[in-house]
């Protein structure tokens, strides 16, 4: 398949690995964060880290939309799902994320009408097919899925669908990156920038990383050669004493982003003053809610949402994993009490979660031998 096979070429991968080896300074330790969960997934699926020199360490970032949902929001969703007459719709893995009151899948087992959808448009279709019931869509994700939710809300408004509403949990990528850069317990040398978020926001929002913090940021695609090339570009910047935003993923990401997508987001959403992130706490202006014009489609205004705040389970160290302070296998419950079948923490739920990626691709066994 075009744009896939050529970016998985093993021979080219070895050449790039050689160039990466040649560009590192012996004795210097490099800590690079891949921001996006999609990158984490690819790195472990294809064994990209096995091709890197020992002194180049990859740290997993907070860019998995399921992983950063706090328990309180899950509980709010479950409460909504139990409202009489409600059809509660969400993406598949969201159903397995544990809140303090269990999961949405368990709520479904208890009789709540919880349905998995692949897109918000599917949720709107369900609403139109069930005019005598209320359909709620539990919206999650970064700037990649927010435009989709925005278009669906615009469509619902234009078509006058009254029995559809959205519980908005959309977040933006820049505020948590800034929070990580301000974090004293994490020293990073550079960032592998999120590929698909950048198709929407463009490269410009990441310019604060080199400008204010002096770190390189290279926006990368998701195939193994994309990631290797991005790592090489970061290391080259460091070797030459440069810090810039570069775009490795030019076949998909325009520097300016997608103006239409940004336009519909600006129309439908507004920033919340604060939003809680799992493990990262409250981050200012990092979450989206429905704007005044769409308030009549806001599930949080239409229903009584408890809005409780729940502390993460003590045993779970998703917060440290999301900040890149510890590796997944260093968590006390990794692979024992917390597995993809029975996750305690969100990072073990989604295939993009760092813990699930380690677990599913067997990284934990090798890492433990090293310890």
């Amino acid at each position: 398949m075009k744009f896939v096979d050529e970016f998985r070429d093993a021979g080219l991968g070895r050449v790039l690995a050689g160039e990466i080896l040649a560009s590192v300074e012996p004795g210097r330790h490099y800590k690079l964060m891949e921001v996006c969960g999609g990158h984490t997934h690819s790195i472990y699926k294809y064994g990209v880290d096995d091709l890197l020199p020992a002194n180049v360490e990859l740290v997993h970032g907070p860019g998995c939309p399921v992983c950063v949902i706090p328990m309180g929001r899950v509980d709010d969703g479950i409460a909504l799902a139990h409202e009489p007459g409600v059809i509660f719709t969400c993406f598949g893995d969201m159903m397995r994320v544990p809140g303090a009151r269990g999961t949405l899948l368990e709520a479904k087992a208890e009789g709540a009408d919880v349905r998995m959808v692949y897109s918000p448009l599917d949720a709107l279709r369900i609403a139109k097919a069930n005019p005598d019931r209320e359909t709620v869509f539990f919206a999650i994700g970064f700037e990649t899925t927010a435009p989709s939710t925005a278009l669906t809300l615009m469509r619902a408004k234009a078509e006058g669908v009254r029995n559809f509403s959205v519980m908005c949990n959309h977040v933006t990528i820049v505020p948590p990156l800034r929070a990580l850069l301000e974090s004293p317990d994490l020293r990073l040398d550079g960032f592998i920038g999120p590929g698909h978020v950048s198709t929407v926001v463009g490269a410009r929002p990441f310019q604060f990383i080199p400008a204010q913090y002096g770190k390189p940021c290279v926006i990368a695609g998701f195939e193994p050669l994309d990631i290797l090339q991005a790592i090489h570009m970061i290391l080259t910047q460091l070797a030459e004493g440069r810090a810039e935003v570069e775009n490795q993923y030019t076949r998909v990401v325009p520097f300016e982003g997608n103006g239409k997508a940004l336009g519909v987001m600006a129309d439908v959403f507004e920033l919340r003053p604060h939003f809680e992130w799992r493990g990262l706490g409250f981050i200012s202006q990092s979450g989206l809610k429905l704007s005044e014009r769409y308030a009549d489609l806001d599930a949080e205004l239409r229903f009584a949402v408890p809005g409780v705040r729940v502390a993460d389970p003590k045993a779970c160290q998703c917060g440290e994993v999301l900040k890149g302070v510890i590796k997944p296998w260093e968590c006390k419950v990794f692979g024992t009490a917390c597995t993809p079948e029975r996750p305690i923490g969100t990072c073990m739920v989604s295939s993009e979660g760092a813990c699930a990626a380690y677990y599913n691709y067997g990284r934990f066994a090798r890492e433990r031998e090293v310890v």
Partner: protein, 70 residues
């Protein structure tokens, strides 16, 4: 609850899928698109410039975010 498609997994909806346009319904702002595995779905095309059958799109949660360069 993982996706069987070998190229991607859309379990949390936030994973880009490269799809090819099969047919365009301009009146409804939708395109019928096909993924590498052969699966077809309706995709929102309001956010990309005019698309035609054969175009490659990057799709997130049922919405095309960009055309993939030919």
């Amino acid at each position: 609850m993982t996706c069987d498609d070998p190229y991607h997994c859309i379990t949390c909806g936030d994973d880009g899928v490269q799809m090819r346009v099969v047919a365009v319904d301009e009146a409804r702002g939708l395109a019928l698109c096909e993924a590498a595995g052969g699966g077809r779905e309706s995709v929102e095309i309001a956010l990309v410039d005019a698309v035609a059958p054969g175009d490659a799109l990057l799709v997130h949660a049922g919405t095309a975010l960009t055309k993939v360069a030919a």
